[in-house]
């Protein structure tokens, strides 16, 4: 039994408990949201998670440092490269591995492309949730498939790339492929994004569904532990790519996309702006790509010195932290993922009350969940 006492509404009839999920079309995975509703108004809510808890943190302790990269792909299966990079950065910092210049550029390139595909999945999900029968959903998949073709050509896999290595990346990208990526991102992609924006933000019904729904101030959201685009939509400029530049972000010209309204529509606008900004960054990266090696020599039996390190990166959903602790052996002592959505989701009980059942999906889409990373 889940610890979820009913609050009830004073002077009203009995409230009803509605279990949304774990198998529900709009929970984006296996989230179980317990809602106490009075009529259609949510009185209190409690997310129940763990339906996808695969014990990745324990499994990582029984594998070598290199083998764990496979597991990081499966954490947030929508933003695979971000997880790989966060893990690789943590271990490289711990073991003092120097990453070749070109590898850093390649990593940044694919992570930014990954941000685009991840936000496209958000777009598909949120439009589906507000009831558009799949048209924006399928449109989002058109551009996503094009980018997935690049993933496949570069890494050999569509969803689980396992492409980054400690000390670099597995395969180089040749200049013809880079040119193709650049052509797509500069020419075809903005046209698609214009259409997406018109379908979502330009739609009157969407505006009436989202405007003024779920308005939270930046102070509230910071207090609740929310990070990422959901926070930036409330006016905060927190973006680790600017605050703690890693990769080649300090050499790129980009702006932090923010919005000061703080409602659900603002969160949509911020994510759409981030899609455009990422595409712009990718073009810059391809233009500035230096030559050279893509992988440093790293011993297969890597033994980082004793110690622990926590590395923060900006994943598409917020601040992704990876804490690795080493006891000087070939296997990690502890591999911990600070999942941005885990803490974003923990703010749901604060966010949902007094909204309608239909608003739940809108607010929920605003934080863009991916259960693989929440449950690990």
């Amino acid at each position: 039994m889940v610890n979820f006492p009913r609050k009830g509404v004073e002077g009203s009839t009995e409230t009803m408990l509605l279990n949304v999920g774990p198998q529900h079309p709009s929970t984006h995975g296996v989230l179980h949201m317990m809602c106490e509703i009075s009529g259609e108004t949510i009185v209190s809510a409690k997310p129940v998670i763990g339906y996808l808890h695969r014990g990745i943190e324990k499994l990582a302790e029984s594998r070598t440092w290199q083998q764990d990269i496979v597991l990081t792909d499966r954490l947030d299966y929508v933003a695979q490269f971000s997880n790989e990079w966060a893990y690789c950065r943590a271990v490289e910092r711990l073991a003092g591995i120097e990453v070749p210049e070109r590898a850093e550029w390649l990593r940044t390139l694919l992570v930014e492309m990954n941000r685009i595909t991840s936000h496209l999945i958000w777009y598909a999900g949120v439009t589906m949730d507000i009831g558009a029968l799949g048209t924006p959903f399928i449109y989002a998949w058109v551009a996503r498939e094009r980018i997935f073709d690049f993933y496949e050509a570069v890494t050999g896999a569509r969803v689980m790339p396992n492409w980054m290595r400690l000390g670099g990346v597995h395969t180089d990208i040749d200049s013809a492929m880079l040119k193709e990526m650049r052509d797509f991102l500069e020419r075809d992609f903005p046209v698609e994004v214009d259409e997406y924006e018109a379908l979502l933000v330009g739609n009157e019904i969407v505006q009436s569904r989202m405007k003024g729904i779920g308005v939270f101030s930046a102070e509230q959201l910071v207090e609740w532990g929310v990070t990422g685009p959901a926070l930036r939509a409330s006016g905060s400029e927190r973006d680790l790519r600017k605050d703690v530049p890693y990769g080649v972000y300090d050499r790129l010209d980009f702006r932090v996309c923010t919005d000061d309204v703080g409602d659900s529509l603002a969160r949509c606008r911020v994510r759409l702006a981030e899609i455009r900004e990422s595409a712009r960054m990718c073009v810059q990266i391809i233009d500035g790509m230096p030559g050279g090696d893509v992988r440093a020599k790293v011993s297969r039996a890597l033994k980082p010195p004793v110690g622990d390190v926590c590395v923060r990166t900006e994943s598409p959903r917020g601040e992704l932290g990876v804490l690795v602790a080493s006891d000087g052996t070939t296997k990690p002592l502890r591999f911990r993922v600070r999942s941005p959505i885990f803490y974003n989701l923990s703010a749901m009980p604060h966010m949902l009350p007094n909204h309608l059942l239909a608003d739940m999906l809108v607010i929920f889409g605003g934080i863009d969940t991916s259960m693989g990373e929440i449950d690990r």
Partner: protein, 323 residues
């Protein structure tokens, strides 16, 4: 009643049932195909010529599926629930006229008859949702009842404008009165209100709240499986057909076509066009929220419909020749 009348009635009954079957099969096929092409894909393609056999296959499967009655459901209401929406939906079609004198029964108050049976639908939805003892169906049913009842009033008021102008509730008279100018040009406001309200009456996007898939799984039909689900679908497409017929007959001139002789073909074409419009909406629009749905009906459509009917009545008094 003479034997000829019996035969006429029997033939028409069979014909109407066939029509419903064809409308459902072709409607679903056309919807999947049309929305598929809207979404840059193909829709049903491989079973039959361009997927034409897809719907017969679906129906064969549905008939042979297990018929589940949940333990906690009210067994009687659960069984008769689908009938309570299918029967009114089909019965309403008895008054449809496809050409002068070409129909089951040319009733004096045909329009009234159709609306009377449409009014029964929320009861059926409520029974379906209540009997399943599931929360999603219950919420869906309550939404359906609230939505259908509140959109009935603007719909009837908008239709009343046409009745005032035509001076009759007989569908033949109403359509014949549009031999010159269609009512869409005489009463554009009424047409807009009637179109929106009929869309809501048919539970179509953006008013598909009762079966809001992303919120309520499948709304009031969540617990129905097999042929019962098929019956509910049948009722939906019958209502869609009736609604499209009403829009075509009341505002789009029915079987009249400018510069061309009157023919049932025009009526059918208009019905198909109206149905396609609803599918287009379905492919593009998201869903309204439940409170904006209600405020749209009570705060906007109802006052405008009242203004519309007063204006039409005044015009009909002032300009008896034209209106």
């Amino acid at each position: 009643m003479s034997a000829a009348m019996w035969i006429h009635a029997l033939l028409w009954l069979v014909g109407l049932l066939l029509l419903i079957a064809v409308v459902t099969v072709m409607g679903v096929w056309w919807e999947r195909k049309f929305i598929g092409h809207l979404q840059r894909r193909r829709g049903p393609l491989h079973h039959g010529f361009h997927g034409l056999l897809q719907l017969p296959a679906d129906m064969v499967k549905m008939i042979s599926k297990e018929d589940i009655v949940p333990d906690s459901a009210d067994p009687w209401l659960f069984q008769i629930g689908p009938l309570m929406v299918v029967v009114p939906a089909i019965a309403a079609m008895a008054a449809l006229m496809f050409a002068p004198g070409f129909g089951l029964l040319d009733m004096n108050h045909g329009l009234f008859y159709i609306f009377a049976f449409q009014t029964l639908l929320p009861l059926g939805f409520a029974v379906i949702g209540w009997s399943c003892a599931s929360k999603f169906t219950l919420i869906g049913a309550l939404r359906a009842a609230a939505q259908l009842i509140s959109y009935e009033i603007p719909m009837l008021l908008a239709a009343l404008g046409v009745v005032v102008a035509a001076g009759s509730m007989r569908l033949t008279d109403i359509i014949n009165a549009q031999a010159g100018v269609w009512y869409i040009f005489k009463e554009p406001l009424g047409f807009a209100i009637f179109g929106i309200a009929v869309l809501a009456e048919m539970n179509r996007t953006p008013f598909d709240l009762p079966e809001a898939e992303s919120e309520l799984v499948a709304g009031y039909q969540t617990e129905y499986s097999g042929m019962k689900f098929g019956f509910v679908q049948l009722a939906e497409y019958s209502v869609l057909f009736t609604g499209s017929y009403l829009v075509s007959a009341l505002f789009l001139g029915g079987w009249n076509m400018p510069f061309l002789p009157a023919s049932p073909l025009w009526l059918l074409l208009k019905i198909v066009a109206c149905m396609t419009m609803t599918m287009w909406f379905r492919g593009t629009f998201p869903r309204l929220r439940v409170d904006s749905l209600m405020s749209l009906s009570w705060k906007w459509l109802l006052p405008i419909a009242l203004v519309n009917i007063m204006a039409v009545a005044a015009l009909a008094l002032a300009l008896p020749g034209i209106y």
